[in-house]
């Protein structure tokens, strides 16, 4: 049967690794290519690059990063950040990305999901959702709202409804990023992750809030996620990818433990 995946997310700005805390105050913390290789050799199951480069004239840099990583990292590679067209997606695929993450642009224009799915296949289109907790209301019955632009702009769209629409439009996977938890290291949003994982029939990747190994365990069991995304936990050297996988494996989570 399938193993649960441990995925590392590298936020890249101007070709450098950055880590955001609640989406603001990003700091540079190193060379993304070097980090990617290090995690790959340490048993990582999948890698995500999120391009947070602000100026569009520097967008080419992410292509160079992806290309350099694809030369030496032989696990699935996923890229997101600012993808607004099939052309953007195709360019990244040619550079070596397996999967494409769409986010804000898909919220503004949902047809983007279907267009990308047609062009590169459902399984390669990941709908990445930034979600914040709100009071449940008629417009937001699930109590979770979709936000865009790195968490700055609430859209008045219900997160559950958007996940289901994204699946219908052809997304092959969901990234559920709880912005209330992002960078806090206080744990994933279990209730949100479980709600969405039970609602859709595509894999769900939990994102935002990982600080301790037990957080991964919780989201992969109680939260019913198919994969757990980590960032600061491993970027700062507090934990290693192999250490996290060993922890999960020892507690009975099905994990790929052979990578030598």
């Amino acid at each position: 049967m399938l193993s649960k995946r441990v995925i590392a997310c590298l936020d890249v700005r101007d070709g450098q690794l950055a880590k955001s805390v609640r989406f603001v105050d990003t700091k540079n913390i190193g060379d993304p290519v070097e980090k990617a290789r290090e995690y790959y050799l340490d048993g990582l199951d999948e890698l995500v690059f999120y391009d947070i480069t602000a100026s569009s004239d520097k967008r080419k840099i992410i292509l160079e990063v992806v290309e350099a990583v694809a030369e030496q990292v032989f696990i699935p590679l996923s890229v997101g950040g600012g993808i607004a067209s099939v052309a953007d997606a195709t360019e990244l695929r040619l550079a070596g990305a397996e999967k494409i993450n769409v986010n804000s642009a898909a919220v503004r224009r949902p047809a983007l999901i279907a267009e990308c799915a047609d062009a590169i296949g459902n399984q390669n289109v990941v709908l990445s959702m930034d979600i914040r907790r709100v009071a449940a209301s008629e417009a937001l019955p699930s109590g979770y709202e979709v936000v865009i632009e790195g968490g700055r702009r609430p859209m008045g769209i219900d997160a559950l409804a958007w996940a289901l629409q994204g699946e219908r439009l052809g997304a092959g996977e969901l990234v559920v990023n709880a912005i209330d938890a992002d960078g806090t290291r206080a744990g994933y949003e279990l209730r949100l992750t479980r709600m969405l994982s039970e609602a859709v029939r595509i894999p769900v990747i939990a994102s935002g809030g990982a600080g301790r190994p037990s957080h991964l365990y919780d989201v992969l069991t109680e939260g019913k996620a198919d994969a757990a995304l980590v960032a600061s936990m491993v970027h700062y050297g507090d934990y290693t990818v192999s250490g996290l996988k060993r922890y999960l494996h020892d507690r009975g989570v099905k994990i790929r433990m052979s990578w030598q």
């Binding site: 049967m1 399938l2 193993s3 995946r5 790959y40 199951d45 694809a70 030369e71 030496q72 032989f74 696990i75 699935p76 695929r93 040619l94 070596g96 397996e98 590169i120 296949g121 459902n122 399984q123 390669n124 092959g172 996977e173 029939r201 595509i202 894999p203 198919d226 994969a227 790929r256 433990m257 052979s258 990578w259 030598q260």
Partner: protein, 204 residues
């Protein structure tokens, strides 16, 4: 070494993995190059219908079948594997017929199991083969597929994986071998398998 190009994607990652193993692979959709190739990788992701259309119009499909009969070692990957059987349920497509059998969509009873079958899964070799014999206990490989092959003859099934029930995850006959998983995306276990294919003389 030729990587077959038929608008089905995934070529570059196969080429990169070969380069990592010290082999320069040419990406080609020229039937003459494919017929003359010493060794062929036939990759692919996407749908069977459009892939077969492309293989027919370009003549690449016929060239592959010729190369198979001429004895060149061929490795099919994912859709490249599925297209080697007789028929695929996907788009109700007649395929190349190198291996007898058909391809059908996963039909699972457990509603918690998702289709496509996507992620890392174990592969158990059920028939010893030079390309697969390096797979160690515990090795897992990366899969992304909604359809699975059902070879008509048991001896063509080389390896199995489990997703609810067991399914054929590697098959082969003579100088043709194929995997449902992506060795080029399966870390070092995948690279080891590719390395064995690159050294294989085509004799099972």
């Amino acid at each position: 070494m030729v990587v077959v190009d038929y608008d089905a994607g995934n070529l570059m990652s196969v080429q990169r993995a070969c380069r990592e193993l010290g082999v320069d692979a040419e990406i080609s959709n020229d039937p003459a190059h494919i017929r003359a190739a010493e060794r062929i990788i036939f990759p692919g992701v996407g749908a069977a219908g459009s892939a077969m259309r492309s293989l027919r119009t370009t003549g690449v499909g016929a060239a592959l079948v010729d190369a198979f009969h001429a004895g060149a070692p061929i490795l099919g990957i994912c859709l490249g594997m599925q297209i080697s059987l007789d028929h695929s349920e996907e788009n109700d497509t007649r395929t190349l017929g190198i291996v007898a059998g058909e391809v059908r969509r996963f039909r699972l009873d457990d509603p918690a199991l998702k289709v496509p079958h996507m992620g890392w899964n174990a592969v158990r070799v059920v028939r010893s083969h030079p390309v697969l014999d390096g797979i160690a206990q515990g090795d897992e490989f990366y899969f992304v597929h909604a359809y699975r092959p059902l070879p008509a003859r048991r001896e063509h099934v080389l390896a199995e994986s489990v997703y609810e029930g067991a399914f054929c995850s590697a098959l082969g006959t003579g100088n043709y071998v194929a995997t449902q998983f992506h060795p080029e995306k399966s870390g070092r276990a995948g690279l080891r398998l590719l390395e064995r294919f690159l050294a294989w003389d085509g004799r099972a």
